[in-house]
Symmetry: C2
Subunit: 127 residues, 2 copies
DNA sequence: CTAGATATATCGAAACTTGATATATTCTTC
DNA sequence: GAAGAATATATCAAGTTTCGATATATCTAG
C-alpha cells in the first residue's frame, strides 16, 4: 500500500475534482477504487487538505442535505460538503500537472542512469 | 523550481551514489546541474538525509583531506565526507525504483483523466 | 583583505502525518 | 427495534519532516 504525501494527495484530489464536483468521503472511496487499493487517503488526511484547498481558493464548497428515501420531510438529513474546482483551481492543477511531468522526466534521468537498471526496455507499466 | 521532498531526495541521492561514491556538496551541485536547476536539495535537506542513509546502513562513509594546490603539507585541509552505496543500499534502491514506477503509473491514471490535459503529445520538456 | 565558492552541520518554527477519537445519520439484517 | 456496518465530517496529539537561517572553516581570485 502506497501512502500519499500531501503533495501527491493534492494532485490526485484536484484531478478527481477536475472531472466534476465531489465530496470528501466519495473522493476517498474513489481514490481507493481507482488505484486498486494502492492509494489510501484517510479522513485525517482528506479533510485538512480539503480545508486548505478551500482556504486557498482552489475549490468552492456547498452543503447538501442527504435525505433518506421515504424519510420525514422535516428530518435533518446527513450533510454532505460538495467541493467544486474553481477557475483558480483549474489553473493550479494545470501547472501542477506540468510540474509533475517535469519531475517525472528529470527523476527518470537520475534513475535510468543507475546500475540497478536491469536493462529493461519496457517502462514498467506492464509490471 | 521544484524542491525535492525527502522521499524524492532519497531516490535521487541513492541514484547518484549508484554511479559512484560522492559527497554532500558535490551531490547537491550534481542534482542542480543535471536537472537544469529545476531541483534543489540544499544543505539543510542534504546532510540530515545522508546521516539517515548512513544510520540505516545504505551507505558507508570515509573522510578525505582536501589539500590546496601547493599548500603547506602540514596544513589541515578542508574535509570531505565521501558516501559509498552499500550492498544493502543497492537492494534498497532497486526496490525504491520499482515503487517509484508503480506510483508514477497510478498517479498518471488520475492525472490523464483531467480536462486540464491540453492534448499535448509532447511531454513539456520543450517548454 | 574582501568576496565568493567550497564543505559540513545544527537549530527551531512551521508544516505535515496519521492513528485515535468524537459525533451523528442511514442502511441492512435479524 | 436493536445491532452493526456504512456513510459523512471533523479534530486531536504525538511524532516526523521541512527549510531558511545560522555557524564554522578553508580555498581562490582580485
Amino acid at each position: 500500500m502506497l501512502k500519499l504525501k500531501q503533495d501527491h494527495s493534492e494532485l490526485v484530489v484536484l484531478s478527481v475534482l477536475a472531472e466534476g464536483p465531489s465530496y470528501g468521503y466519495a473522493i476517498s472511496k474513489d481514490i481507493a477504487a481507482r488505484s486498486d487499493g494502492h492509494f489510501k487517503l484517510t479522513a485525517s488526511g482528506m479533510y485538512p487538505l480539503l480545508t486548505k484547498l478551500e482556504k486557498n481558493g482552489l475549490v468552492t464548497t456547498s452543503w447538501e442535505e442527504v435525505k433518506a428515501s421515504g424519510s420525514d420531510p422535516d428530518s435533518n438529513g446527513r450533510r454532505r460538503k460538495w467541493y467544486t474546482l474553481s477557475a483558480k483551481g483549474h489553473k493550479h492543477l494545470t501547472k501542477r500537472i506540468e510540474l509533475h511531468r517535469q519531475l517525472q522526466s528529470i527523476l527518470d534521468g537520475f534513475v535510468q542512469g543507475t546500475s540497478s537498471e536491469q536493462s529493461e526496455t519496457q517502462t514498467g507499466l506492464a509490471g
